[in-house]
């Protein structure tokens, strides 16, 4: 088990009701997509936040990554919808 800082933004943050949290991730959770699926099992807010992975984006340690990116070595994972700034 590795401890990971999670950050949630926008619709993901609202669905979960938290800005972020620290989680102990089981060893079989190896990618961002695995992480989202594992979080989705935590309850209705999480399930809602991660229901549609096509609308999920992520950053590891302040860099955008694809959902199949490994989380090994990550300090912080941010999970959020596609960006809409500018």
């Amino acid at each position: 088990m590795a401890t990971l800082s999670l950050l949630y933004f926008a619709r993901v943050r609202e669905a979960i009701g938290l800005d972020g949290e620290a989680v102990d991730v089981p060893a079989d959770v190896t990618t961002v997509a695995d992480l989202a699926a594992w979080l989705a099992a935590r309850g209705s807010g999480y399930a809602d936040a991660f229901a549609d992975l096509t609308r999920l984006r992520a950053a590891i340690d302040d860099r955008f990554v694809a959902l199949d990116a490994p989380i090994a070595g990550a300090r912080e994972v941010a999970l959020f919808p596609p960006v809409t700034g500018g």
């Binding site: 950050l7 933004f9 926008a10 619709r11 943050r13 609202e14 950053a59 302040d62 860099r63 955008f64 941010a78 959020f80 919808p81 596609p82 960006v83 809409t84 700034g85 500018g86």
Partner: protein, 147 residues
Amino acid sequence: MIADIRVQEAPFDPGAELLALEALGGGAVASFTGIVRGGDGLEALVLEHHPTMTMKAIRVICETAAARWPLLGIVAIHRVGPLSVGERIVLVAAASPHRAAALEATAFLIDWLKTRAPFWKQERFADGRTSWVEARAEDDAAAARWD
């Protein structure tokens, strides 16, 4: 190349920012300003961002622009927090010796800011409803022009 990057709640003044770019001696300064557009009962946007990441992401965008066009300076200012209809959200501007470079870099900067910087817009309406702005395929296509 001077890149002046700011992420702030406070308003900004495009005229003052352009003056700084004009002073670099390039001869060509282009700019794009995005403003909160009203309609359908919209009262305000709330701009959320990923605080530790935003400046880094914009810096990468500016460095990419500087590597592609002969630029003397870039200004990229993005506001966060609540913004009423009519308020400025974003300014990108570029100074160059060449007008095409200044104009193309400006288009590039806003296209990539919209798709490669961690900002999210929530709409707040007069009737109390809120709604997250959806990302648009059109914006992805505009950004992909520069790939």
